[in-house]
Amino acid sequence: MKDRLKLVVFLTVIAFIIQATVAFAQSEGETADSVISEQPVTPPPKPVIVSGEDIPNDNGHKLKLNWEYPAEWNDSIVRFEIYRADSPDGDFRRLGEAAGGIFSYLDIGSKKKDDPNYMPNDQNLYYRVDAVSKSGVTVQSEIGGPFQTSGQWFHKGKVPVLIGVVLFAIFTIYFIRSARKGKDLYIRPLAGIEAVDEAIGRATEMGKPILYVLGIGGASDIATIASFTILGRVAKKVAEYQTALTVPCYDPIVMSVAQDVVRSAYLEAGRPDQYSDDLVFFVTNAQFAYVAGINGIMVRDLPATNFYLGYFAAESLILAETGNSIGAIQIAGTDQITQIPFFVVACDYTLIGEELYAASAYLGRDPLLLGALKAEDWGKAIAMVLIIVGVLATAFGWDAFREFLRVNL
């Protein structure tokens, strides 16, 4: 027992000595530091402003300021502070700072005249850069400038896009004119579209309703707009066959447009009396609550045919698998690449990507719309040729071709 007590006392003394030694060493270090800090400090050199570049392809109000600084002082500089004024002797306003070792600053000014950060286009601007050292010494650069910003009337980085759009528009207009003149245009058949009539017919024979889901996109989504056009064709056929139609909506604006589309389709089919606003209704705009609502409709009403056409996200598989479990024939289509595999697995027919946009033209068989589809096919052919030439150009080092097609956003 006594031995243990001795051991504890011995260890306590040793610990005390170590702690005291460390404390003494720290105090010595602090004294040494304070001695160093008392030594005279060599002021850091001035930053030298070398250029102020207007950012290209924008509406102005942006400038990239570049300066130089001796490399041997990099470790001593904490930050550079950037200032701007309208004249060399004007009131310089602090814009921001760049960390030490960084020698450029992107000045994004305001377009509004009443904003303190207002940055006028086509007027002289002057800059100053202050280097702040670790010891707190601040050194101002000479005034840099004058520099100017300006807005451009054409985005030069988008030339390839413009050429592509113009070419495609010419193709589209040419084929639409050809179709208008009565030229017979061959369009590759799509299984999913061919099955629409069969799917509606099946529902009619079984005396069960058809469920049409427009997805969770807004009315401005191109996939939703494409779905409206398909809904119009489907609703017309449904009205002709006198089958029940259910269109649950995620978005109130989508609901409003869909009501108009379906009402018009019933009118065109000569059955306006069969239309009711209850066919197209708002469920909710909460993603999974919407799924729960539609799944409930599916298991209660047991529709014979389900259409899922539009913008879909994580809910796609939940919808499609529920539809599959009730034995409905399912036709799906979306432009969301990540959801296409889910629809392919769980649905009978899937419109992949651009087939969704083409579907309304296929269903309507309108020559004008078919003309636009033909232009799309030509666009794809040109894309294929460009890809092959691009691969060859990269392989053989023809940089000019690659650079010509580069898009700088």
């Binding site: 392809n57 924008d58 509406n59 807005g151 451009q152 009337w153 985005h155 988008k158 896009v161 759009v165 495609f168 589209t172 207009i173 639409i176 807004g218 191109i222 707009i225 494409a226 409206f228 056009t229 978005d251 109130p252 604006i253 609901m255 447009v257 108009d260 589309v261 009402r263 018009s264 009118l267 065109e268 209850d278 209704f281 708002f282 705009n285 909460a286 999974f288 609550a289 799924v291 729960a292 209660r300 994580a314 598989l317 939940i318 499609a320 698998e321 432009d335 690449i337 296409i340 697995v345 769980a346 990507g353 651009e354 946009y357 309507g364 719309l369 636009a372 799309e376 794809k380 894309a383």
Partner: protein
């Protein structure tokens, strides 16, 4: 007239927005963002339309005692409760002037303790649906399905530590045979090539669809055909 005015508006706005894509200078720069803002403003008012439709459809169901009308009663009760909790800020520590979603308010409690778990439950169902869908898709009945099965097996294995443990012995010039490397190759080469092909098609489809709408060739979305 009912279709002509929207068609003219579509033509003008569509053309201006295409021009704005290539002209960064005033007044075209940021025009797309501004139009998005206008759309959001309209969308806010549309929620009144949505709420009104919801109430009308379900009241009709209840009053006519249509099939499954009790579900409609539950929907309306939930709608009324959340609306009242939000509008009158029931239980809000800051009173009627406090933030609607502040901790402790009934609205926040309904959202956190009822709505969020229900949403999460629906999302969790996805795991089971992925299982059932995979089972159907990966049955090796055809050559394509077999390739799909093998690819899926390699990727599943490659995304787990077991895959590396199993094939970690392949080193040097044989390193490419390690399952994680094979999985990455499948994702980066054949999978990405397929995705890009679809993306190119979608891009052309979007341009074509937009041109059809701007030129007024596609007009089904406008509703009634007879002016």
């Amino acid at each position: 007239m009912r279709r002509t005015v929207p068609l003219v508006i579509t033509l003008i706005v569509g053309t201006v927005l295409i021009v704005a894509e290539f002209v960064p200078h005033k007044p075209f720069g940021n025009l797309g963002d501004k139009f998005s803002m206008y759309f959001d403003i309209i969308a806010v008012f549309a929620f009144i339309l949505g709420g009104g439709n919801l109430v009308r459809v379900h009241i009709t169901k209840i009053s006519r005692k249509k099939a499954d009308w009790p579900f409609s009663a539950v929907t309306l009760a939930g709608f009324a409760l959340v609306l009242a909790a939000g509008l009158f800020k029931i239980g809000n520590p800051g009173g009627i002037r406090g933030d609607v979603a502040v901790v402790g308010s009934l609205f926040n409690d309904l959202y956190i303790f009822i709505f969020t778990p229900l949403q999460a439950s629906m999302f969790a169902l996805l795991a089971f649906y992925v299982g059932s869908a995979s089972y159907r898709a990966f049955r090796a009945k055809t050559v394509e399905a077999t390739i799909l099965l093998v690819a899926a097996f390699v990727i599943l294995l490659g995304r787990t530590p077991f895959g590396l443990w199993l094939t970690g012995g392949f080193t040097g010039s044989w390193e490419f045979l390690q399952v994680p490397n094979l999985a990455n190759w499948i994702m980066d080469v054949p999978n990405l090539a397929g995705q890009r092909a679809i993306m190119i098609g979608i891009a052309l489809g979007v341009i074509s669809m937009s041109l059809r709408i701007i030129l007024g060739v596609e007009r089904t979305y406008l509703g009634q055909d007879n002016d």
